[in-house]
């Protein structure tokens, strides 16, 4: 804490020297002086391409699973032997995690990770495009919704709001965050700047004096965000708790979100995505721990686990939730892959989560139990999960505005 104060004070002095002390600094100094109750933070992860939930959260207690997937099922958990590394990691005697998700097992055991199974969008579409759109808009079946569920879930605020309260990592603001509340897309924390310092000063002056109120306000937000992100970067970021983020875009995204959470820049909502889940061909390698799905899950699991380690007790106010547009066919196809399906799984992790459990009613995988005789059926709506986080974690009373037309049916997975 003391390091942070000194760092903030030095930044403040430097800014006063140049005659540009932004509001956030004043807020941050107050925060350092007398910590206000910290803001709740919600982080959403989108697995684009339709992840194969049945091979991620493996229903190893369901015999039909092995019948439907003769060459690409994940083997039943084993106590101890040389094949353990290729078998599911048991969670509750019925479900198990894919072996590449071993780093998530400790989170589950410590009840910081909850799994929801047979969950997804009630809309029947099997188009990536439509299904992602519906999930991100939060309005399955309604195409004309213009904003995203996360933007609607941001509490409306007057006056001083951080320009970094809602952000995504990536070049384009995702559908989930689009809407009337300001939200920004960062290529990376280091990228949000004007490279010519002289020009930056001239611009700042021009925008602070702009006759147009919108330009003046947007200009101010922009230069505040630039200053904040510059200050955040003054010290090289070192993840705490021995956390090691995997190489690649997704690990980078989570590392930067962790950095911003810890820098107390006023973050309330963050979004990141990870693509490459559309495994129609050769989903698995020769063994369950090899091949496309295994590699991607390794990156995914390591990144989530690193984030959890890195944040440490800061996970107390953070909830991270993962989703994918739909699941994949219950049976494997002719190319050792799977095609577009229906229900899927979601992960919910964080301090306020009642973890260590698999939520959702299991619908079974016998032929007549399948959706349209081919896919895992849906027993929970993705809005049951997101809605509960909005209502109970963020404490929003406006759930009807966030998910219009949806009747709340929560699973009880997040603390009130």
């Amino acid at each position: 804490m003391s390091t942070r104060r000194i760092f903030l004070r030095d930044s403040a002095l430097a800014m006063i020297g140049t005659g540009a002390a932004p509001l956030w600094l004043e807020r941050a100094l107050y925060a350092a002086e007398a910590p206000a109750p910290r803001k709740k933070i919600l982080i959403a992860i989108f697995q684009r391409g339709a992840a194969d939930g049945l091979n991620i959260v493996v229903p190893h207690g369901e015999p039909a699973y092995y019948g439907l997937r003769p060459t690409i099922a994940i083997p039943r958990p084993r106590a101890t032997d040389d094949k353990q590394a290729d078998a599911a990691i048991d969670l509750d005697g019925f479900f198990g995690l894919h072996p590449s998700l071993a780093p998530l097992k400790p989170l589950f055991d410590q009840r910081h990770l909850a799994v929801v199974d047979a969950v997804g969008s009630p809309d029947a579409t099997r188009s990536h495009f439509d299904a992602q759109d519906y999930m991100e808009s939060g309005t399955p079946g309604v195409k004309a919704t213009t904003d995203g569920w996360m933007n609607r879930a941001l509490p409306a605020k007057e006056g001083n709001v951080s320009p970094l309260r809602a952000l995504s990592l990536g070049s384009v603001l995702p559908r989930s965050l689009r809407g009337p509340q300001p939200a920004i897309a960062l290529q990376s924390v280091g990228d949000f700047q004007i490279r010519n310092a002289q020009a930056a000063k001239s611009f700042e002056q021009l925008y602070l004096e702009a006759p147009d109120a919108t330009l003046r306000a947007t200009g101010r937000e922009t230069f505040e965000a630039i200053a904040m992100l510059q200050a955040v970067q003054k010290q090289p970021y070192r993840p705490a708790g021995g956390a090691e983020y995997p190489r690649g875009r997704f690990g980078d995204s989570l590392r930067q979100i962790a950095q911003l959470v810890k820098a107390e820049v006023g973050l309330e909502m963050a979004f990141a995505d990870i693509g490459g889940w559309d495994h129609h061909v050769n989903e698995l390698g020769q063994r369950a721990s090899e091949g496309q799905l295994a590699n991607l899950l390794r990156e995914y699991g390591q990144a989530l686990s690193a984030f959890w380690q890195d944040l440490g007790d800061r996970m107390g106010e953070v909830v991270l939730v993962t989703m994918s547009e739909f699941g994949r066919t219950a049976h494997e196809n002719g190319n050792r892959g799977t095609d577009h399906g229906h229900a899927n799984c979601m992960f919910v992790m964080g301090g306020p989560v009642k973890g260590g459990r698999v939520y959702g009613r299991w619908p079974g995988l016998e032929r007549e139990q399948l959706y349209e005789r081919r896919d895992l059926a849906l027993t929970s709506d993705f809005r049951d999960v997101l809605g509960e986080l909005v209502a109970h974690h963020l404490g929003s009373s406006g759930i009807a505005g966030v998910f219009p037309g949806y009747t709340p049916k929560f699973l009880g997975l997040a603390g009130g």
Partner: protein
């Protein structure tokens, strides 16, 4: 110094200098009260207003040109674009983007997606007739198969190692643009195609920003044939915005494409959007609304985008296991014609969808065309907005729906309001919208007449309208190049800039299109991108674009970049 002192100091400065954030308002109510639309613009600002709104920004000399023609005559010309001779510079530049002139089917063949390439290998599809292209695709297939055999691991490529030395590879990967091109040109001519087929897409992308035009197409093809189509579209749009002599037509094509938005990256639409804009939208932007509506309704691009091609009427439903799809029916009413408050019900949506069953596409994945499938059409009786459509109808059921909605006052009003929002002000004066809607109804939806009513109005030429709108990203980028008389050799990087500013062209996912309320464009990420773009352009750091060097030097790089990135330049 004590912390509390610092806080006090900071606070004092902040309060002294800055207005409270809550002063922010999305609507500019205080600046443009209804009175400002009654207040005529001084004569000397009328030409500026015309150039601001009816073009993608004034070039040096445009004001004088309009004055010498006469403002009214100039507007009349812009309303009759075929009387304007097109800029030969533009024609020459567009010629290089050959996919813009192909049918959807030709595009599929010449710039195939990976699954099409596979079909070519299996003999299910013919290879392109152009020998260069055929060879490149065969080479890509060979590479693909080699990679498949040895698994996903493409880290070290023995083929590349055979063709290039480590040093050459380094130059191609990480050299300056000039080094990269020199390294490529040092490769013996008879080996170049081999090398191209082997280079990873990332390296190729680095090359095509520096390559001369005749090589660029080759590089693009090797990097991924399918992406050429999207690139041509985006580059074509920028070139037209910057160079076309028919500026109002370009603005209107942008407006109407956006009104009838389709999304380029949805499956088959990758090959359908080019023809959609060229053959459906462009020829009709100053024609009858009813014609435009029908052309979009029958376009493969729209049928695919809003799923109508899969919509099947009840008798055929059981067999096809699919059934009625309401997407198009809903958006037709809500977004294309009546508007969300246009007085229709869910029942109307379903009835409209029933009328359009059987409106489908022949072989959509192969660039197929519209056809009416009698067998999947619901022949039952329908009632749409209170009008009975008798049982036993065919394709005319859908056509009747188009008749009904295009005659409705709600449609006249919705379309007029949207046009006024684009051309006059974010919150257009209702009286103007009403007069435009009257013209719409009187003329049977003649869009040129509606435009004329707007352009003859006192509101268009008012203080309230003048410079009241923010430029969209496309307007910002195009007007920057125009005002500097930039020379665009290729618009690939400019197109990326428009994306950075927040308007990926042809890639608005939602059927709503982009908002016509210009305040939507202003946010931190976009503003930052605008400022950086301005500096880069003025300093000739946007690949493919050269701005007048003499002018840049005389004014100093920073000052020119700063005026393009200034609050002033974001409005028009």
């Amino acid at each position: 110094m004590r912390k509390s002192t610092i806080v006090a100091l900071v606070l004092a400065m902040v309060v002294g200098v800055l207005p409270p954030l809550s002063a922010r308002s999305r609507k500019k109510g205080e600046e443009t009260s209804s009175g400002a639309f009654q207040k005529p613009l001084p004569k000397d600002q009328r030409v500026e207003q015309a150039l601001n709104r009816l073009t993608f920004g004034a070039r040096p000399g445009d004001e004088e040109r309009v004055k010498s023609i006469g403002l009214n005559k100039w507007i009349d010309l812009e309303l009759h674009p075929n009387r304007i001779r097109e800029n030969p510079v533009l024609t020459a530049k567009l010629k290089e983007l050959d996919s813009l002139f192909m049918s959807s089917r030709e595009m599929v063949q010449n710039y195939p997606a990976p699954q099409m390439v596979r079909q070519m290998v299996n003999g299910g599809l013919p290879y392109p007739s152009d020998p260069d292209r055929r060879m490149m695709i065969q080479k890509l297939v060979a590479r693909f198969e080699r990679r498949q055999q040895k698994g996903q691991n493409g880290e070290s490529d023995p083929e590349l190692a055979r063709l290039l030395t480590a040093d050459q590879m380094r130059q191609l990967r990480a050299g300056t643009p000039e080094q990269r091109l020199a390294a490529f040109e040092a490769i013996p001519i008879d080996q170049r195609d081999e090398v191209l087929a082997e280079l990873p897409p990332g390296v190729l992308q680095g090359l095509f920003v520096v390559a001369p035009p005749e090589l660029r197409r080759k590089f693009e093809l090797a990097a991924g044939p399918q992406q050429v189509v999207a690139r041509d579209l985006g580059e074509g749009k920028l070139l037209r915005a910057i160079y076309s002599n028919r500026q109002l037509e370009e603005v209107l094509v942008d407006f109407w494409f956006n009104h009838f938005n389709v999304f380029l990256d949805k499956g088959a639409d990758r090959y359908l959007v080019t023809a959609y804009e060229r053959d459906v939208i462009r020829p009709r932007v100053l024609g009858k609304f009813r014609d435009l509506l029908e052309a979009t309704a029958k376009s493969p691009a729209m049928l695919f985008y809003l799923d109508n091609w899969q919509s099947v009427g009840s008798p055929a439903r059981a067999a096809a296991r699919r059934g009625l799809n309401e997407n198009y029916g809903r958006e037709l009413l809500e977004l294309h014609s009546l508007g969300v408050d246009g007085g229709y019900t869910q029942k109307d949506v379903t009835e409209v969808a029933r009328c359009f069953t059987g409106w489908t596409i022949r072989q959509p994945q192969l660039g197929g065309e519209f056809f009416f499938n009698e067998r999947t059409h619901d022949k039952g009786e329908k009632t749409v907005l209170g009008v009975r459509i008798p049982a036993g109808g065919g394709i005319e059921d859908g056509e009747k729906v188009l008749d009904i909605v295009s005659r409705r006052p709600a449609t006249a009003h919705f379309v007029s309001n949207k046009l006024a929002q684009r051309f006059v002000a974010d919150d257009p004066p209702p009286a103007l919208v009403e007069r435009m809607a009257q013209t719409f109804l009187k003329t049977g939806g003649d869009l040129r007449a509606v435009m004329k009513t707007m352009l003859d109005s006192k509101e268009f030429w008012s203080v309230g309208a003048f410079r009241s709108k923010f430029k969209s990203p496309l307007e910002m980028v195009a007007s920057s190049v125009r005002t500097l008389s930039g020379d665009v050799e290729f618009a690939f990087a400019l197109n990326n800039q428009v994306t950075q500013l927040g308007e990926p062209l042809y890639r608005k996912l939602e059927p709503t299109g982009y908002s016509n309320s210009s305040a939507e464009w202003m946010n931190s990420a976009s503003l930052l991108a605008r400022m950086n773009f301005a500096l880069n352009l003025a300093n000739n750091r946007v690949p493919g674009v050269k701005v007048a060097a003499a002018e840049a030097a005389s004014q100093g790089e920073a000052s020119m970049g700063i005026s393009l990135g200034s609050p002033e330049f974001q409005k028009h």
